[in-house]
């Protein structure tokens, strides 16, 4: 077991972990933050995407022990984020989810796209979403929701 400390959604966390514990398992089982979902558990499906030091990252292939000092933010930590609120409303309006399994990570990826690529068009949004699999929607609603938020921000 190894000592590790970092912040999760702004709150300091210190724990003893087995080195092979993934960050995703740590967040779900130690902190009970079950908004981070696990799909493939080898970095392909994107369902476990969270923010590490502000940048999207796969929590299934990050190890908690290697996150010493990191600023970790999960979907639960974006409750009061204004852009996340805009995206949630747009996902609702555009029917951008069905089963919801991919949705927390989709919102995190979508937020990154809006912040990093404020000029992104449909083709670019689709390319950027290649790392987050959705098996329900065919991506149509998700792409429209992101386009809606980008368009609204451009008008603002």
């Amino acid at each position: 077991m190894k000592e590790v400390s970092f912040t999760v959604n702004g709150r300091p966390v210190a724990a003893r972990v087995e080195p092979r514990t993934s960050l995703a398992d740590f967040l779900r089982e130690h902190d009970l933050l079950t908004g981070t979902h696990l799909g493939c558990e080898h970095g392909v499906c994107g369902a476990c995407t969270i923010l590490i030091d502000g940048a999207p990252a796969r929590s299934c292939i990050a190890y908690a022990v290697a996150c010493e000092g990191a600023d970790i933010r999960t979907i639960e930590g974006l409750d009061d984020d204004s852009l996340a609120a805009e995206l949630r409303a747009a996902f609702t309006a555009e029917h951008a989810l069905q089963c919801g399994y991919c949705t927390p990570a989709m919102l995190i990826a979508a937020r990154d796209i809006v912040l990093r690529l404020p000029e992104a068009d449909e083709a670019r949004i689709r390319r950027e979403l290649a790392g987050n699999l959705c098996r329900c929607t065919g991506y149509l609603g998700i792409v429209r929701a992101i386009e809606r938020v980008i368009a609204a921000r451009r008008r603002a």
């Binding site: 092979r20 558990e41 970095g43 994107g46 995407t49 999207p56 292939i61 290697a66 010493e68 290649a130």
Partner: protein
Amino acid sequence: MKPAPFAYERPQSLAEACALLAEGGAKLLAGGQSLGPMLNLRLVQPEMLVDLGGLAELKASERLGDGVRLGALVTHAQIEDGRAPDPTGGILPRVASGIAYRAIRNRGTLGGSLAHADPAADWLTVLAALGATVIARGADGERRIAVAALATGAFETVLGEAEILAAVEIPAVSAEARWGYVKLARKPGEFADAMAAVFRDPGRGVSRAVIGATHGPPMMFEDFSEAALAEAFVRFDPVERRLYRAALARAVAEADA
């Protein structure tokens, strides 16, 4: 948790990291974007992970007289965003932007990708074409290895057990340089079925093509005439031959455009 149990150390110096490697049974952890999946799938079961994340010297970059030296832990996203010096007039950022997905690029590193030596890795093919060199550090000091001579097979390199790929030196390209790079994959971000890079730099007297994702080390061609390709492709099956030819033809067209 999915991996087999392993111990974990986060050394504070390269010398300490080399000493841990010399004990045997350890794997280096850089960005972990290939090692993580392999651990989770139990394709590798090291006794110890030696995390390079605490070594600031591996994150630094500097401009050299004729090119740049990028620390091994520079991420693909840093290169994509222009947050690392680029002596290639935009080649490096364009290549970086096509590696896997943004969440992977935020963590995955230049040095990790080269040392892992996945035949389908972008940097192995691209940096061989650009004539880059890696700096390997070991207990006995450092040595320089051309990227073109780094991989000896799929996931195999000339790096020693206790040697660490510390930095990559990439030469500047001249203003009249031509570049073409094509990956054939079914989906953006997927591992490529074939890739080809074509680099012509009259200013440096260089003209070469590199074909990657070939189940082995990248294949370098200075002469990429039909006869030379036919001879090199003898060992591949007809589908692979067509893929490599298609990737190369498109890369040549891109460079000549």
